[in-house]
């Protein structure tokens, strides 16, 4: 979101808070969610995609929703269809408010394609609404969400998909790029959908409101950068009157201002001088390389946590308290504490839907017997999944492994140290000193790990490591 979009969202949220008085809270938020879904969708060089992807998001969420909502009435579905028309507003409003949409809107939409897509989706929804076998229905969508995820996150496959799309719509196939398929918020929406499906499968959701569930998946403050809320928390707050959220307005304002400062002042300024894949080859000394890397660590933190603050601030304006995502991660004294305070909701999600099930199944299986091997497998594979969530490439995979191995070694070392260095605890000064050294060490370990994260290829990452070691200039 840019500054104008955030300001518009804040003003709109405040207006809603003062004018609506909770009468149509859920409907108003749904309309806003749809509006921002279309507004924030980046333009693509692929014809009609900037309209089709938001529609696809709505239909995908609706299709899963039909599987979990139980007894959704026709009236509710009709309401959702009607309010979804607000998705056309981003094509009209920027004419009156230039700057609302940062990129020039592609209005060259193939109306036949759009018509076929909408009609086909509506027919699908009508058919899906009649399916009674919820278990296989939801399993299908679980697989479908993951397949889509792989297509979007694996550069070679997304380039191939882009080429196919181009050929289908008579565009130049050779211009296809993995960047063509940018689907706003898909990563986070996929997490929310999997969360809802899994909780439904576990029998925790009996009957959920379709509109509330769609608001949960599409909640615009958290659409593009999280945090990943839990449906129960969201639903509970949605049912409360806005004004009952204690002191949420001043707190929301404070979080919004802090977020704007972090993102647009600190992160954007640091972006000018932080290490990136373009300037990595231009830096001419080891000292500057380290400094640029440290600045990148700070930039990515301020950028991400700034967006989270903005999301939490906007959420509070609307009477929804989103979960915290960061808790001073760079001030933590070991890697486990770092991951408990960095992108907290992602860690919690992965723990709930990957780490814990894997851990349980490994304990039951005959393959891994020793606790250490189970710990190793679960930690490394969990971090590998987190790495691959950012993109299915070697560099992200190695970044995940870097943290997985780091967590395992730190865990083993902590256990060893706890049993062998008891005297340290008796000396507060020494303990404090070790605490400071551990914090610096953890920060440096995380920072060096960012090299894998920011590099576009393995050779580039190796070049950066060589330069950090004073070689390769």
């Amino acid at each position: 979101m840019n500054l104008i979009q955030i300001t518009s969202a804040a003003l709109g949220s405040l207006a809603f808070r003062f004018l609506d008085k909770d009468r149509n809270k859920e409907k108003a938020i749904f309309i806003a969610n749809i509006f921002f879904l279309f507004l924030l969708q980046p333009n693509s060089s692929l014809r009609s995609l900037n309209v089709l992807l938001p529609w696809a998001t709505i239909f995908l969420i609706l299709a899963v929703g039909l599987g979990v909502s139980g007894t959704s009435s026709r009236q509710e579905i009709a309401q959702i269809a009607l309010f979804s028309l607000s998705g056309f507003l981003p094509f009209v409003l920027p004419e009156f408010f230039p700057g609302l949409k940062t990129t020039v809107l592609d209005k060259n939409i193939n109306q036949t394609v759009l018509g076929i897509f909408l009609l086909g989706s509506v027919c699908c929804i009508a058919v899906l609404a009649r399916i009674k076998q919820k278990r296989s229905y939801l399993l299908f969508f679980l697989a479908f969400i993951l397949v889509l995820f792989v297509i979007l996150k694996q550069p070679a496959i997304s380039t191939w998909a882009s080429r196919g799309w181009r050929i289908l719509f008579q565009q130049k196939g050779e211009l296809a790029s993995s960047l063509d398929l940018r689907w706003i918020g898909y990563s986070y929406i996929a997490f929310r959908l999997i969360h809802v499906i899994r909780e439904f499968q576990k029998g925790r959701f009996q009957d959920i409101s379709l509109l509330r569930y769609m608001n949960f998946c599409l909640f615009f403050p958290a659409l593009s950068a999280g945090p990943i809320a839990k449906y129960d928390d969201f639903s509970q707050q949605m049912q409360q009157p806005v004004n009952t959220v204690e002191s949420s307005l001043p707190e929301g304002g404070e979080r919004l201002v802090i977020g704007l400062f972090k993102k647009f002042v600190l992160a954007d300024s640091l972006a000018l001088v932080a290490l990136n894949s373009s300037n990595a080859g231009q830096i001419t000394s080891t000292g500057w390389m380290w400094l640029a890397l440290i600045l990148y660590s700070l930039q990515i933190y301020f950028d991400f946590s700034g967006y989270t603050d903005i999301a939490i601030g906007l959420g509070l304006f609307l009477g929804i308290r989103l979960p915290e995502n960061f808790d001073h991660p760079y001030l933590k004294s070991n890697l486990t504490k770092f991951w408990d305070s960095w992108h907290i909701t992602l860690s919690q999600w992965i723990r709930a839907y990957f780490f814990n099930p894997l851990n349980r199944s490994l304990r039951k299986s005959k393959l891994a017997k020793s606790p250490n091997s189970i710990l190793f497998l679960t930690q490394v594979s969990t971090m590998l999944v987190i790495g691959l969530w950012h993109g299915i490439t070697w560099t992200f995979a190695v970044w995940g492994l870097w943290h997985g191995l780091g967590l395992f070694i730190q865990n083993r070392w902590s256990t060893y140290a706890r049993n062998h260095f008891l005297k340290v605890r008796e000396n507060p000064k020494l303990e404090k000193g070790i605490q400071i050294l551990s914090t610096v060490g953890t920060f440096l370990y995380v920072s060096v790990g960012w090299v894998w994260f920011l590099s576009t290829s393995m050779p580039q990452a190796c070049d950066i490591f060589l330069k950090l070691l004073g070689k390769g200039f």
């Binding site: 001043p250 300024s269 231009q282 640029a292």
Partner: protein, 369 residues
């Protein structure tokens, strides 16, 4: 403990009041000279050329309006007046070095030539004070500010576009610095209309926010300049200067095939020389692209019809001779093939040719300062 209840309206009211006070007090704080406070020449090395760039994330450089901040970031701000012999080279983008790395610009190559050829032990430093857009008034505004560093010699590259009357209207750095420009116009008694000065409101914090932001960005970008030595994004491919020309042989506002001394701002140079007798000034007519493409019998290049440019050369040559101003005409020394993306931009090979000619001309001055 119970949380204190916050009155939102009171917080907003106080914030607005503080903003208003800062906003309107800001112009009164100008005596503090914020722009001259710079990390360059202290934390980072000074820049070899003045800040200019449209794409900061690639060039690690930016265009800003604040001349004080620009000079404070330049290596010249670290010079020691009186220690050795200093040469300021001024002019337009051909001197600044569009599409040229720092080491390949005319001032940098001149420095190399001086280092290689000089017989004396006294240090000689050549400074690049060129800045894009062709205007002698723009040159003078920058030079006037840089005079605090006491140059011994000024090599002033000019061309018809920079000398034609009112060329400063194409120079944003002049238009955005009306106070400095008007001071220069008055001090040198130039025959140029004064620019409308900024109102109090235009000097307030809110109106100046972009300039303040640019000053901060200039300091931030210094670290990438120090880390990489890059201050310009040079693309691998660019649109070459036009060689095939239109049949039109008109030049700017001139009517009929007439160009007289009154159409030129020669007084900018002559006044500077008159008021700074201790500074040796050499005026150079900079090289231009002499096209061999279509209609090259009518025009030399996209900028200049033949008749206008020939008249201009004859006029300034006679004038500078009459006033005993050192003048060197290098208009045709660079072959057509060495020009890059404009009729005044040439590559490193072209720079070598210009430097060689220039060095042999000024060598005597450098050897016997």
């Amino acid at each position: 403990m119970q949380k204190p209840i916050i009155n939102v309206w009171r917080v907003i009211g106080k914030a607005c009041l503080v903003l208003l006070i800062i906003n309107f007090a800001f112009p009164l704080l100008s005596f503090l000279h914020f722009p001259t406070v710079s990390l360059y020449n202290h934390l980072y090395p000074g820049r070899q050329r003045l800040p200019f760039g449209e794409n900061p994330s690639l060039s690690y450089n930016l265009t800003l309006n604040d001349i004080d901040a620009m000079l404070a970031s330049h290596v010249v701000a670290n010079s020691d007046p009186g220690a050795g012999y200093s040469i300021f080279v001024i002019g337009d983008s051909s001197i600044w070095g569009t599409l040229l790395e720092n080491r390949d610009t005319v001032p940098a190559q001149l420095q190399n030539a001086v280092n290689a050829g000089k017989q004396t032990n006294a240090p000689v430093r050549v400074y690049n004070l060129g800045y894009p857009t062709s205007s002698v008034l723009k040159d003078l505004v920058l030079l006037d500010e840089a005079m605090q560093y006491q140059p011994d010699m000024v090599i002033w590259f000019v061309t018809l576009n920079s000398l034609i009357k009112n060329s400063y209207q194409e120079a944003p750095i002049v238009l955005n610095n009306p106070e400095k420009t008007n001071a220069v116009i008055e001090r040198y008694g130039l025959d140029t209309e004064l620019l409308p000065e900024r109102t109090y409101w235009e000097k307030t914090f809110l109106e100046q926010r972009r300039d303040i932001y640019d000053r901060i960005r200039l300091q931030i970008l210094g670290s990438m300049w120090a880390a990489t030595g890059i201050d310009q994004y040079i693309p691998e491919e660019y649109t070459p200067a036009t060689r095939d020309l239109e049949t039109d042989d008109s030049y700017q506002y001139l009517e009929g095939h007439t160009l007289s001394e009154n159409d030129l701002d020669l007084s900018v140079i002559t006044s500077f020389i008159a008021q700074n007798p201790s500074v040796r000034v050499i005026v150079v007519n900079e090289p231009i692209l002499i096209s061999s493409g279509a209609n090259s019998d009518l025009r030399y290049d996209l900028y200049y019809p033949r008749w206008t440019y020939d008249t201009y050369r004859a006029l300034i040559s006679a004038k500078f001779e009459e006033m005993e101003i050192q003048y060197i005409d290098l208009w045709d020394v660079v072959p057509e093939t060495l020009f890059t993306n404009s009729a005044i931009h040439y590559d490193a090979q072209g720079v070598d040719i210009v430097t060689e000619k220039l060095y042999s001309f000024i060598m005597k001055d450098i050897e016997e300062p």
